[in-house]
Symmetry: C2
Subunit: 258 residues, 2 copies
């Protein structure tokens, strides 16, 4: 039991290595590391749907963690629909249709490896459906406080460019204020998930050239339409913004082949 079995797969060894790097016996979120590792392995397709989490691939012993930590990690995966457990059958990876793709952690795992072009496209299609709707609702409801917040965020965006951290923060605040103005908790939750994914795509953007176009005028158009209470115009303006973002990230992903 001391010597490594030669039959252990390479990825299992890497797993053990990686988890062994985290100080053993430390009470610090070991289950989080296990969940992250298994989640990435499942979402990336290394462990295919229907496969069992067992033996040398994924197990409490193979990962050198206690059953408690391993079980709690599996609970996290189960809560996100990635796996399911049955007695005598083990814990099996569920079909992709059962995964909760909008969960922030699942999105993070999906973006941890190579970016899947199709997945990014699907995500932007969802954005194209939802975010113009949010802008439209915000324009129809338009609360004074959130409108003021959007105004100040817009001013901050103008001052600091989007390349700086302050500029990106202002951009986030603009969209958050817009979201608050829509006053829809479900849309807020959905937008939070989408936003976490968008933040993950920015890493590819930053890898490419600088932003090819100034997004400020589009934001101004959205703000003006919302302030005017013109829902249709707000939705249209936001749609332009989404298409621009989609174009930029696509170009970045194309250019990131270097």
């Amino acid at each position: 039991m001391d010597a490594k079995k030669p039959g252990a797969s390479a990825r299992s060894d890497a797993m053990v290595q990686r988890l062994a790097d985290t100080p053993r016996g430390s009470g610090r979120r070991l289950r989080g590391a296990v969940a992250h590792y298994l989640g990435c392995a499942i979402v990336s397709g290394e462990i295919e749907p229907g496969a069992r989490l067992t033996g040398e691939i994924a197990n409490s012993e193979a990962l050198n963690v206690s059953r408690s930590a391993y079980r709690e990690a599996v609970q996290v995966l189960t809560a996100k629909g990635l796996v399911a457990s049955k007695p005598k059958d083990g814990t099996r990876v569920m079909p992709r249709s059962n995964w909760n793709l909008l969960d922030p952690l699942v999105l993070a795992w999906a973006f941890s490896g190579e970016p899947d072009r199709r997945f990014v496209k699907d995500l932007f299609e969802l954005r194209a459906l939802v975010e113009p709707g949010i802008a439209r609702l915000a324009a129809e409801r338009r609360s004074k406080g959130d409108l003021a917040a959007m105004k100040t965020a817009l001013a901050a965006m103008r001052q600091h460019t989007l390349a700086s951290e302050a500029g990106r923060t202002a951009d986030r605040e603009f969209h958050e204020a817009l979201l608050r103005a829509a006053s829809n908790e479900v849309l807020m939750s959905l937008a939070a998930s989408i936003g976490s994914a968008v933040n993950l795509t920015t890493q590819y953007k930053q890898r490419a050239r600088a932003l090819p176009r100034d997004p400020i005028p589009d934001h101004v158009r959205v703000f003006d339409a919302v302030a005017a209470g013109d829902g249709a115009a707000a939705g249209a303006a936001m749609q332009v913004l989404i298409e621009l973002a989609h174009h930029d990230t696509s170009a970045a992903m194309d250019g990131a082949h270097d």
Copy 2:
């Protein structure tokens, strides 16, 4: 420590009672019961954001379950963003903005108690944004297999009325085929969450009078537009369908006051 403390709250007693009904020591999904109970208590607002899960309100001892089962249940809640744990601070209920409202279990907990009118409205606003878009994408892509599945499902809907179980199954298959035709995994995941919530609203519908209007013609309109490849018409037809469903459930919730 044997006698019940008089300071124990009534809801804690009910909790203990409820969980005591599940056969103790049984290996069958006790953590699921704990997660369900805590999830309902949090989503319903009985345990407010910022409150600690401790003492007589919610605890391993108060619930008469082992620390392992309780911890795994808390992991489920953590995975859905309802709570977060820190040493020396305990596990606290997170603000509502952090909840993953689109998680099927969270939706189930939200609908387990009294239906929140505002929440239902928010959900239908999301449906009104997403489902017409799905219909539009399905019309633009239109795959032959899914189109055939929609056709047969439509025929089944015509034969069995929507009041029967077979009719509802046909309705589900119609929408699933439409979703497959859209060929967007993210939208499939989102629609699955929404669909689980819609199924939960039907309980209120069934409590009220029978369906006031025949939904078949609207489905036919959607199908025809998709088959013709007319995205705009498909979206418009689906929007009518959603508004009809919204109207029906609102009426049912109004009439369910009996």
